[in-house]
Structure formats: structure tokens, C-alpha cells
């Protein structure tokens, strides 16, 4: 799964720590998600999308290998 989390963060001028705090997760989570090392839960995807006011598909997309 690919994500545009880093881009969205840049648009909203948020650091990883800011984003983590806003959605109530650890900085480790955001870091791992951005590096593509962790596929998070649907709940977290929805929370992130809601925060950025985007649809989930605009931030997270499937890759060929998925």
C-alpha cells in the first residue's frame, strides 16, 4: 500500500509529532506508516483522512503487489 501522508503533512505544515498528537498515536506509528513499513488499521486510515479532509483513497492507494 502506498500513501501520500508525507505530502499531506507538508500541505498542512505538520510534523510527524504534530500529526501523531492530533490523531492520538505514537510518532513511531506515523514514521513507520510513511516509510511503508506498517499497514495500519482501517480506523486509523479513516482518522487520518478525516483530519486532512480528504477521502481515504486520496491518501492511501493499493499497489500492484498488494
Amino acid at each position: 500500500m502506498k500513501n501520500r501522508l508525507k505530502v499531506q503533512r507538508a500541505i498542512h505544515e505538520l510534523t510527524q509529532a504534530d500529526l501523531a498528537e492530533k490523531i492520538g498515536v505514537t510518532r513511531q506509528s506515523i514514521n513507520a506508516i510513511e516509510k511503508g513499513k506498517y499497514v495500519h488499521s482501517t480506523v486509523l486510515a479513516l482518522k487520518i483522512a478525516k483530519l486532512f479532509n480528504e477521502s481515504v483513497e486520496n491518501i492511501f492507494t493499493l499497489e500492484d503487489k498488494d
Binding site: T15, Q16, A17, A20, G24, V25, T26, R27, Q28, S29, N31, A32, I33, K37, Y38, H40, S41, L44
Partner: protein
């Protein structure tokens, strides 16, 4: 993240203290073989004792230096408190790291034991067994801490 087996975060500090004291005590016991048996001699309940040259007994009060028992309890209780208390922020990723650490430690610990069973004999093997009582927890705590640190980015 909903978990039903994690204690509140406030117990983590206590866990580190017990764990640290236990490990130091353990090293002390190992470095001064026999000496600590003379410490803290108290009467204890021995549920079952099978003497090598003698009768076996059930539920007997015996005198025993409890230093090693205390050290073992400290390491086990401390290790559990460190590994199984909530983080300050407990989320699904931390939960995954904890589970990954448990799987990792089970594989690593038993791999080491397997090698020891095949290639280490006599008293040396007993020493390995002695360590093996605690390495599961010790390796788990180390692995979990390393993983948490590894994913803590320092960018920005």
C-alpha cells in the same frame, strides 16, 4: 488500542527498578557463587523436596537463604511490568511491536537453547539452563525497547 492484559503506565517505572535490581543481584549471585546462599536465612515452606541421597518430603518447613529467590522474583515481576504495562501512548503500532518482539524472542531463545542442548554438556549446560530461566524476559524487554527506539524518527 483495546488490550485486556496490559497494566497502567504508572507501573512501568516500578518495573524498571525491580528489573534493574534483579539483574544486578543476579550478576552478583553468579559472580560470588555460594556466598549469597548465606544471606537472608529464613524459614520457608518447602512443598516438595526430593533429596539426592535421602527421603523425599512434602510440606516441610526448611531454612533457606532467600536472596536468590528475591532476585528471581524481581527479574520476573520487573520484566513483566516493563513489557506488559501500557506505553505513555499505547496504539496499534506499539501493540504490533510488542507482539513482534514476543515472537522474535521465542524463536531466538529456543534457537539458542537448541544449540546449547546439542553442543553444551555437564555443569556448563546447567549454567545455560539457569540463564535460560530469565533470557526470554530479558531478550523480550531488550527487543521491544530496540524496536520502539528504531521507529522513533528524529527527522524534523
Amino acid at each position: 488500542m483495546e488490550t485486556n492484559y496490559l497494566l497502567p503506565n504508572k507501573f512501568k517505572k516500578l518495573g524498571w527498578v525491580l528489573f534493574g535490581l534483579g539483574l544486578i543481584g543476579g550478576i552478583f549471585i553468579y559472580a560470588t557463587i555460594g556466598l549469597t546462599d548465606k544471606f537472608l536465612k529464613v524459614k520457608v515452606l518447602s512443598v516438595y523436596d526430593n533429596q539426592l541421597f535421602g527421603d523425599s518430603s512434602f510440606f516441610k518447613i526448611v531454612e533457606n537463604g532467600i536472596f536468590d529467590e528475591l532476585v528471581s522474583v524481581f527479574i520476573i515481576v520487573g520484566g513483566f511490568l516493563v513489557g506488559f504495562t501500557k506505553e505513555k501512548i499505547e496504539d496499534e503500532f506499539i501493540y504490533k511491536l510488542r507482539k513482534d518482539s514476543l515472537v522474535w524472542v521465542l524463536i531466538v531463545n529456543y534457537s539458542i537453547l537448541l544449540v546449547a542442548i546439542l553442543f553444551v554438556y555437564d555443569m556448563t549446560f546447567l549454567h545455560i539452563l539457569f540463564f535460560n530461566m530469565f533470557t526470554t524476559l530479558v531478550f523480550f524487554v531488550i527487543r521491544f525497547s530496540v524496536l520502539k527506539y528504531k521507529y522513533l524518527s528524529h527527522e524534523e
